[in-house]
Symmetry: C2
Subunit: 335 residues, 2 copies
């Protein structure tokens, strides 16, 4: 045995983001890493094909060693003594051991990952089990979030806006609270969660803005209003998008002017309720004591009238006058 | 004049995501669109180079018509009568008019965009002004968020976790509230906002988990703990990352067991305070009346003991016993 065979150099692990589905949305780096890999691994469903493999298909060669990592369970029940969690844990351990054997033999392993490997992806389970023992590199990819916004042709998030990414599997009340409290949002993992997501959009007042995107950039792509989507037709590979509010006047209520008095609570913005955040986001004009106004995030297009804390009646009169002229005014107060 | 010259076919507008900085993180589609474009437009600072142009440089040809869109202001003051907002508005209008002239003449225009075009990008201003009159297509790109997680080699968001993307320009109290209420987070646009972001990380109890990434995938890249970062050294092109908590035991306090009693408030999850969310996220075991427990999002690795509403004293005893054995227990109650 040569010295090299006794102490072989270990192989390198790559988590390769493939993007949302259209093979042309792979990065140059993803193509390069696959070309240089000895082993190409990918997750696949038990009775189905691997979406990851199909995205990268054009770049696979006959001399690539392929390692399909076949999920033992998807949504069906399992007779594993540890239940779903136990079956998955065992599967990840076994998969990592298979990849480790290649790495120990000095082979470069590319694990294909739909979208971005570290964003709700299966690659993470391999990374956690192997990256402490082997050299590992993650090639980031285009997420389904970016793909959905691109196919809708609508800005996702701008300027001072907050974007919240939510799994549709959260309880409906939690989804409602999160949707009410954010500017933009994307809800992942629809399918069976769709009725709860739709309910949360409605309860949080976001349904009119919400869009629906299925299989963005892939065959069978579908986009539309979430409100018009038939719940029975929604697969897991669909997302709900609440786009940017900036320059999107359809997203705020129109109608006669109004004054909403908004209490910022004993802890200021820390304890703002979703209803308060909503009222602040919907207002065209903010009126209040400068100290409190400064605690409210600046929104493009929103006018702020700050004054000191000695002119309360003038401020109220001013706010009412603006409302009479058709403006939606929020009076910001402490307490 | 031929008929075609009298009624020329209008050109097509592309917003082309270039990814986070490393030219190899451009997508195949981005390269293809640039190759087919007649005009390549990109934003650039008044006294500096265009980062977008430098990412795509290898794909630009001498027969490309280049349209640099030079910002009239960056952070300095302006003597425009409309101030910063007025100067920018005028700039976007003038830029759109220049691109429209090319499109009217039948030229294909590719607007280069760092990262993803619809994610806090400048391309959006062109899209809003032109996409209603011309055919437009957005090529999504890898965001700096995905790049930062890749360079840290740490999962960004998993399973049932919520990811919040925040601009560092928000008020510090607002940042604190948002950071306390989310699982994972990325704070964009650091630079001068860094002290406030650091303060918010500390106040929300997230500082120990927070990572710092500067110029991910670009020359001069720097990564580390946010807590160790010198505030004076932070440029605008840096982000703060609070990674996934799943399988990241360093992210929750260790020490002796404890019982925290968590009130879900009159409106359930809708009105949870950041402190409540934090206590629920940090707990190893949740104990409570099943109806209330079902309203709390499931976290991997967290054990739930639900019971009916008639066994309150048994429940309390059970929770205290777990805490005595070193567990962090949250007792979930209504009201």
């Amino acid at each position: 045995m040569s010295e090299q065979e006794q102490n072989p150099v270990k192989g390198k692990l790559y988590g390769v983001g493939l993007g949302p589905g259209d093979p042309s949305l792979m990065t140059l780096r993803a193509v390069e890493v696959i070309a240089e890999a000895d082993v190409v691994a990918y997750h696949s469903a038990r009775h189905g094909r691997s979406i990851a493999r199909s995205i990268a298909a054009k770049h696979l060669r006959s001399d690539h060693v392929e390692e399909p990592l076949v999920y033992p369970v998807t949504t069906e029940t399992t007779d594993h003594p540890g239940g779903y969690q136990g079956a998955m844990e065992e599967f990840y351990e076994a998969s990592a051991a298979r990849l480790a054997a290649h790495l120990d033999a000095g082979r470069t392993v590319a694990v294909l990952a739909e979208g971005d490997p570290l964003f709700y992806g299966s690659y993470m389970h391999m990374h956690k089990r192997l990256a402490d023992r082997y050299e590992a590199e993650v090639v980031p990819g285009v997420t389904s979030v970016s793909a959905a916004a691109a196919r809708l042709g609508t800005p996702l998030v701008e300027g001072e806006e907050v974007l919240t990414i939510l799994p549709g599997t959260l309880p409906e009340e939690e989804l409602t609270a999160r949707l009410a409290a954010t500017d933009s949002a994307v809800v992942m993992k629809l399918g069976r969660t769709f009725p709860a997501v739709r309910g949360a959009m409605e309860a949080s007042g976001r349904l009119a803005e919400a869009r629906y995107v299925e299989r963005a950039t892939m065959e069978g792509e579908r986009t539309g209003l979430l409100a018009d989507t038939d719940p029975d037709s929604v697969p897991y590979f669909a997302v709900a998008v609440v786009p940017s509010r900036v320059g999107n006047p359809g997203s705020v209520p129109s109608g006669p002017g109004e004054v909403v008095v908004v209490g910022t609570g004993p802890a200021g913005p820390l304890w703002l309720t979703p209803e308060t955040r909503r009222a602040l986001a919907d207002a065209e004009v903010l009126v209040g004591y400068t100290t409190y106004l400064d605690r409210v995030p600046v929104k493009p297009g929103q006018v702020r009238h700050g004054s000191d804390n000695k002119v309360e009646s003038e401020r109220a009169e001013f706010a009412l006058d603006l409302a009479r002229r058709g403006k939606r005014v929020a009076g910001v107060s402490g307490g």
